[in-house]
Subunit: 474 residues, 2 copies
Amino acid sequence: MNAAIPPDHLMPSVQLREVPQALLDALQARFGAQFSVAMAVREQHGRDESAFDVPPPDAVVFAQSTQDVADAVKLCAQYRVPVIPFGVGSSLEGHLLAVHGGVSLDVSRMNQVLHIHAEDLTVTLQPGVTRKQLNEAVKSAGLFFPIDPGADASLGGMCATRASGTNAVRYGTMRENVLALEVVTASGEVIRTGTRAKKSSAGYDLTRLMVGSEGTLGVITEITLKLHPLPEAVMAASVSFASLADAVNTTIQIIQMGVPIARCELLDGRTVAMVNRHSRLSLPETPLLLMEFHGSPEGVKEQVQTVQSIAHDHGGNAFEWAHTPEERSRLWTARHNAYFAGVQSRPGCRVISTDTCVPISRLADALLDCVTEADAAGIPYFLVGHVGDGNFHMGYLLDPNQPQERVAAEALNTQLVQRALRLGGTCSGEHGVGLHKMEFLRDEAGAGAVAMMRGIKQALDPHNILNPGKIFTL
Amino acid sequence: MNAAIPPDHLMPSVQLREVPQALLDALQARFGAQFSVAMAVREQHGRDESAFDVPPPDAVVFAQSTQDVADAVKLCAQYRVPVIPFGVGSSLEGHLLAVHGGVSLDVSRMNQVLHIHAEDLTVTLQPGVTRKQLNEAVKSAGLFFPIDPGADASLGGMCATRASGTNAVRYGTMRENVLALEVVTASGEVIRTGTRAKKSSAGYDLTRLMVGSEGTLGVITEITLKLHPLPEAVMAASVSFASLADAVNTTIQIIQMGVPIARCELLDGRTVAMVNRHSRLSLPETPLLLMEFHGSPEGVKEQVQTVQSIAHDHGGNAFEWAHTPEERSRLWTARHNAYFAGVQSRPGCRVISTDTCVPISRLADALLDCVTEADAAGIPYFLVGHVGDGNFHMGYLLDPNQPQERVAAEALNTQLVQRALRLGGTCSGEHGVGLHKMEFLRDEAGAGAVAMMRGIKQALDPHNILNPGKIFTL
């Protein structure tokens, strides 16, 4: 950690547990070359995209099978040592940081796409498969998986954080697109939640309980997902606006009209500038909506006509079309890299990303004041939004040598979250709670609901070994 | 119970707990005229559409507010007496039967639609609101709620059983359409799960945990739902086929082609005959698909063309169109009354309804053999299916004076469920587990997953007072 340390209340509570040598020996004996205590490996597993610095895990196990995961968890359970599942390390909220010490359980080598059931629009895969890998694997069957967080995240991590992305406005999030899971429990037992049936009323919804549980209730070892047919016709467009309010109000009206838009993404002018530099584009550096339409050729035409008319009413400039798949891909890659474009705009910075999501009618109220406040505070930031869902991210770009910037950013974040909660929204649309939003979760859900979550955690993980110290403290 | 009693293993385990007079006195004092121990009232609350006969609850409380529910649960908790939430009593699986005795907590008077947020496509309401009442309330805002079990069920009951119905193929089930709940916990505390935001990654998904928990984890006292815009264009059609296989294969192909069909319902020829008699229709008494298409006029036209061509390939007769809203309504009301049409076809019968749901490619395998087996057994039945979802119901119509019919029907049901599980499906698509499918749930989910459910139950309801004896035994 840099010498300039922010106030205590902005730092995660680090309570390292002792890891007995006997456990390390047992893991070494069981896993051989799949086990490491090398500092470089540990450090690589002790960093994510959050702004926190925490000591690395004590050891790393590279699992190659469900049996590996079960055995690793069983050994850790025996010694009451934390187990932290690790995918590609793209968490924004400190999910994989070893705040209680312990063993990082890296599942990135469990990266097989096991069964593509094109005839049922389902796929079963291992948790280390990444979203881009999955889409490559199912493309030739005429299918795709729509959930697309910015990073090329692992599907296991996407399940664990209940991820979404740019297509969620039409296709839903991981909540709607996971059919079933195989999970290793805190005692090392292997269970299955759900089947390949599209719907079920058979008992508690363990699948949805595991999705979004951030590694605290079980380690996901197999995933069955819904797939979607590649749309017959696709059109993508960018539209520029004179003001953020115009872009936001256009979005609100598109959603309220019930247009089945596939993507509806906002960037403010300064973020467009960052993206232009990072991705060598020349988009006009004013508030911008990036949109995509999926459907039959006729259906897409109808959607486009409706949306053009709405955008026109709010002064939106003529649509710029991405005509070829390559142009579309370039546009969306640029959007997905907005986070990295933001980081690049201030070399050496750390990012605190906000993640509120509000009912669509409240989006202007939620978003516009946050921008005014950030401008007034003078903190550099980027602003992107899955605005069709009412979800947006301010990414505050902080100089780690200027701790007062962090304090100011956290104050902005708190104002922003409290506003979203007042408007009927949530503190996290898609990134999860991790280390950073525990207080916000209490404010949002209330003590009673958090106590219920804690009760479930204690029932399923009585020794608190599964990714302890995340979501809530015990 | 009739003198002809089926074998023990087909009967629910009834373990009545003593209800202390002190509790009845306390409930009488707190609830006055909202409290009853009259046998007629108790009996009305001790019956549903299942085939079980169980002694009625010891008393009934008519709650009119969340505070009423909280107070009733607190008093029952104090005396460790079961509380069984009651909506309209349309459960098919014995959910509301007092197998451990206790108090029926009737929420049907909590029937206010509280807030219609048309601008966000959400509504907040009390659990006693029924689906028809809800649709009346939101119609003038140009909105509707698509989930439609056969009965005019309460929304509370629909949440509790994770209900679906004819529109689920396009709009999803209660799993996808509940945004947030207010719940009274086993200790009588009031908590909220979720917000009005469309998506969230803020902590465990308590909403989805409560949806489908069958009253065993909390009493639902307020519900926030997604609404959908009334489609611009609607077309409904019935198509007759020479064989069940033709109708089923047409369905499979419609779904595999990705047609966004709104409803796709199957009736076999004998069930069409029952429906004709009950609803005074004259549909051809051969296997029938009832379909509905929602969208823009152009979009509906495209869907219809695709589906007509698929049906034609399987020998489907020319489409019969329901041209007016009244004709459509008549057709769907007839479909919704298929259950009652079946009951009417054999006066005095009891029904055992199956509810398996399989991946769409396995639907023919799952369905056709069941029909052959039922025909061979000579048990009267009806057959309806939300086949677009891979979900169908055999309703065995049993003479209560012929216990061997029940034994035969349960044997058919067991064969049918085991087949669905082998095909990657679930024992319950939408009715829930209740008393009747506990063994099937164990077969489907496995001992480990059921143990996890049990662990959650014990954590959230340590004295097992919330609808005990349902889903699993403790």
